[in-house]
Symmetry: C2
Subunit: 319 residues, 2 copies
Amino acid sequence: MATIKDVAKAAKVSISTVSYALNGDPRIPEKTASMINAIAQEIGYFPSAAARNLKKRYTQTILVAIADFGGPVYHNLLDGIHHELAMSNYTMIVSTGKSSENLLKERNADGAIITDIRISDDSLRKISKNFRPIIVLDRELEEPGIYQMTIDNYRAMREMTQTIIYEGYQKIAFVHGVKDSHDNRSRYQGFQNAMRHANMEIFEEYEGNFTKESGTDIIRKLLKSKQPLPEIFVAANDEMAIGIMDGLHEAGFQIPADYGVSGFDDIELSQYVKPQLTTVRIDHFSWGKDIAATILSLLKKQPVKLQMQPGKVIIRDSF
Amino acid sequence: MATIKDVAKAAKVSISTVSYALNGDPRIPEKTASMINAIAQEIGYFPSAAARNLKKRYTQTILVAIADFGGPVYHNLLDGIHHELAMSNYTMIVSTGKSSENLLKERNADGAIITDIRISDDSLRKISKNFRPIIVLDRELEEPGIYQMTIDNYRAMREMTQTIIYEGYQKIAFVHGVKDSHDNRSRYQGFQNAMRHANMEIFEEYEGNFTKESGTDIIRKLLKSKQPLPEIFVAANDEMAIGIMDGLHEAGFQIPADYGVSGFDDIELSQYVKPQLTTVRIDHFSWGKDIAATILSLLKKQPVKLQMQPGKVIIRDSF
DNA sequence: CCGGGCCTCCGAAACGTTTCGATACTCTTA
DNA sequence: TAAGAGTATCGAAACGTTTCGGAGGCCCGG
């Protein structure tokens, strides 16, 4: 592997001169620099990230840790982050699972954006001692070096619930996603709040895990056990809502004639499903851009103001 | 930042002893090792990836370079790769755009899986001088250190086309994705071959770019310019097929009564669209696992046999 | 002709690890 | 009791960069 030493030898100059030349230091005159660049090019030299990272104490890299690659909500978020970062000179890497924690602990990046509930608060707190800044998207965590940028789930779900109540629904049920996730909790709280304000009882609560399958399962079990159904299912996300619709259709019911369903996220599928799903739109792309811009400011030690990403109720045909 | 030196000082042993202890070298007796581990834990020490990477000449990392985070086909692929890699002790990182080339050139990983057409063959050839192994998913590229694992587009599309011909369609049109991509080319060749064998003329060819919007556009333009339409649109992927369906529906046509449409990939949406799309299923998840297993073998210098990932025609209702 | 300033360039230390090749000990065993 | 074999530990070099602090050489003004 060609190193800077090889370049120096070939160019008959010192290592330091090569380094300066390659990094465009003004003290190297134009013609020397271009000579050195030509030689580096020729022998196929590229600096070793490892060596550079070690010496400079940063990597010019931002890590995005996500829970999995599968979910339909991440794409726009990642695209948004990437879009913004591409204009800076930071490299973006994304990881999932166990990899993420390793990358953080061993400081493979200068900053991180995290939305993976499997990384515990505790672990994050520990990591934040050595690694900053971190932006968390999926939890509330008060800690120096950790910043929160969440979706305004509470307000959006409250608004959705109010709309439903206004429509005259009486037997209203909530379908939970993974119970102890921040998203689920805050959405549920918004729902709860709206119900309480309207002096309404929650008809029932069901437990899913944010997947489509869990939504379908709930319906199947409900039907099989002959329990009374609500008039409308307020799901904590679109995937479960769609799963519920699948389950209901499977049993021969009509939506919204027999039962209503609402979602949250406005994933692409929601417009294709029949009837189209009434849901809360989150503009993940611009949220991503916002997050990236924030971490860039943080990296420059500039002051930032953190605000929640708003959601917007999109009325379609599912209730 | 705590370094190994701090641990050594706190434990009153030498740096080398700490290093051996932390890496579980058998020459360090159990009780010394656990004492050192405890101290490292206590002062919050984590090794610096940069320093380790520099000294050992590898990173235990595999890079996956994708074209963008947006497309619906990557998720399962990435999940498959991750699934397999998670069982090894390699860290997986994914990147896109300009970042990918930097990461490769500066050797931030030990191996790479690439499916991003914007990285040119030339660039890849150059990179492969310093960086191996590389598995490419989106092109054919004969070069030491570069391995190809593609989808068997040719065969699958030929089969799809044969099915269509067998159904009795006469005016058959092909809808191209981005023209010079390997996927588009090989799918087109499969189509062409089937047509030739059946002694049929290709009714027309349209040019899209693999996006839904491009599919819809094609229909709109066709309709506006009053050109004759084919009886069936053979699209190079599902997204365009769905875009075409959208365009046709928009103009009030019925599918498959008025026009037929076929896709390729079997993305999730294809089952939700009405009518459900007839397409070619690619099991991206197991393809991903296969790819990951292959790169792992390559890394261990074991012999590998590269085979194409097969596709399977899934008959649904769009023709 | 001398001193100072600028322009080019260079040597060497440092970043935080790993690992080779010792060096002291402590036991065995003859 | 001395030699040999382990055992536990250590010092120092090396990985490939960046960057500080010069050092020579040249030109300029006085």
